[in-house]
């Protein structure tokens, strides 16, 4: 078994359900959903108008929303960790960049699209928090958060950096809303991952960051350790610009790579926080991948996207936080929105909160357009 040297010592989030990890986890256990109709989407003429957006943070310039969300969440993570080392790095995953800037530019508003580029979030965090370590931005579609966290962990494990604030951010994007709507990937009613009647996803917005720190340094300063990052397994389907390989084999390779790189066996994985978008193809492919990797004894599976929507580049970072909460509380949150599982999906789907007294390892799965697959393994402290 691989002993991870990458400790999680701080957590910060901004999500539609709560701006605290405990608040988010409680809301999930209560089966609350932030998905609702939005007047501005109705007025704009969208035929699908449900999304999960952060209402608690409204005093933002529309063109700075992603920067604001990411700075708030990163600051919360640093504060929670109780350190602010100037040598700390910033690793950010994002999918669309500051979409509102591109939308304004398309309407011939005099605006500099440079300010909307994805790396601006990491630059804003670096500047706001006065961090001088390495800065990276990962544009890995809907798996970006996992990539940022996994890469940061790899860098710390290799001794290249001592601490990194890593996670993901995605402000609500009308471009993405329209894109998914026109791709017929958007639910007509409610997002119901893995359910019989599922017909798509719904967008969210969020920012979530972890303070990752070398275990030696965390132990030396007697920091609270929420968990450890063990490994990030990756693969690519190389199959289609948007659809996953129908048999889920690419996703399965990412899961198997994560297990192998962590020097674990499949029996060690106690719970899977699934990508579970609620789309027909992706949920089915993911269920096949889980069955393929874990064969007859699949771990319990949860998707949280029926509760907080799909926040694209931030989604897997938010889900990593939920993994950490589940590991620390020894409870599995339910798949909000799903009551009846698709009979063609053979998974132990968690539909009500479940005690998990012996939970040790959680696997956080995320996939993106282009068949970009990731599986992050997180260990209980």
């Amino acid at each position: 078994m691989h002993e991870s040297n990458v400790a999680i010592t701080g957590i910060g989030i901004t999500t539609p359900l709560s701006n605290s990890p405990e608040g988010l986890f409680d809301a999930l256990l209560d089966k609350r959903s932030a998905l609702k109709e939005w007047d501005d989407l109705i007025e704009a003429g969208f035929s699908q108008t449900v999304a999960a957006r952060i209402e608690s943070i409204t005093d933002t310039n529309e063109f700075d929303r992603g920067k604001t969300l990411s700075c708030i969440a990163a600051q919360l993570a640093v504060d929670n960790a109780g350190i602010n080392l100037s040598s700390t790095g910033v690793f950010v995953g994002t999918c669309m960049g500051e979409s509102s800037i591109f939308e304004a530019a398309a309407s011939n508003t005099d605006i500099n699209i440079f300010e909307g580029l994805g790396f601006q979030y990491a630059s804003a965090i670096k500047k706001e928090l006065k961090l001088e370590g390495p800065v990276r931005t990962f544009g890995c579609a809907c798996a970006s958060g996992n990539y940022a966290i996994g890469s940061a962990a790899q860098m710390i494990e290799a001794g290249m950096v001592n601490s990194i604030v890593a996670g993901g951010v995605e402000p609500f994007s009308k471009i993405a809303h329209l894109g998914f709507m026109r791709s017929r990937a958007m639910a007509t009613d409610r997002c119901q991952p893995f359910s019989e009647g599922r017909d798509g996803m719904q967008l969210g917005e969020a920012a979530a960051f972890l303070m990752l720190e070398h275990k030696t340094s965390a132990l030396r300063r007697k920091a609270k350790i929420y968990g450890y990052i063990n490994s990030l397994g990756l693969s690519c389907d190389a199959y289609h610009p948007t659809a996953p390989l129908p048999d889920g084999s690419g996703m399965a390779i990412a899961m198997s790579n994560a297990i192998r790189q962590a020097h674990l066996s499949k029996g060690h994985i106690d719970w899977i926080c699934a990508h579970g978008t609620g789309t027909k193809l992706s949920d089915l492919a993911e269920s096949k991948a889980i069955q393929h990797v874990f064969s007859e004894k699949t771990p319990p599976v949860t998707s949280i996207k029926g509760a907080v929507g799909h926040s694209l580049g931030a989604a897997s970072a938010v889900e990593a936080v939920v993994c950490i909460m589940a590991l620390n509380h020894k409870q599995l949150p339910p798949t909000v929105g799903t009551n009846k599982i698709d009979p063609s999906i053979d998974l132990d789907l968690v539909c009500s909160p479940r005690e998990a007294g012996s939970i040790q390892y959680a696997m956080n799965c995320a996939y993106g357009f282009g068949g970009i697959n990731s599986a992050l393994i997180i260990q209980r402290p």
Binding site: A106, I113, I175, R182, S183, C236, I253, G370, I372
Partner: protein, 214 residues
Amino acid sequence: MTVYIQDIYLTKPLPDRQNSRDLFVWLKEIIPASIKEEIDSDLCGLYIATKDFGAASSVQFWRDALTTGFAFANPREFPVTLSSYLASMIAMHLSIKGINQTFVGECTVYNDAFIQAILDLQSKKIKECLIFKIPALQTNVDKSGQNIIITHLILGKNINHKTLPSIDFCSKNNQTDNFKTIDEALYALKETGFKGGEYYIQTDISKDICIQLF
């Protein structure tokens, strides 16, 4: 195990129009045929370094949607708005099924991709990789150097490594003649025709990068 630079290619810039059709045509033209024959697709990684890919297509996608109405927005163009689109298209074209990672950043973004690639090679997650530097588009961002650089790295076993430059992490030496970016070093290497020498590239982590050929 040592990582070697198998080859460096300079290819033509992105097409002016960033749509799925033009990018597909462009892609088929720019990938040297030899790459497809050489790589082991299951154990090959793909790393893309870009400043702004997806920005111009995001603007265009929304502009078209405003013109045609949302009901007629072209769903095929939506994936092109993502910075990861090129990585997924190149992976499909070359059947690259290993790590697929897009880095977004400013002038040192190619360094970011190289650092990650070397770490992944040294930890044997992959045994070879292609690293693409995509220059900024002709938007109002910038117009610096438009050629695309493709670097092919391999892990050193079963190769005639005497003829290839090695690339590795090294201690910080803070010499003034160090390269600031790996692109500059690769241009220099390419110009010398892979003749002997050492090239040091400054990084933002605790080690620098060294390219050596003896």
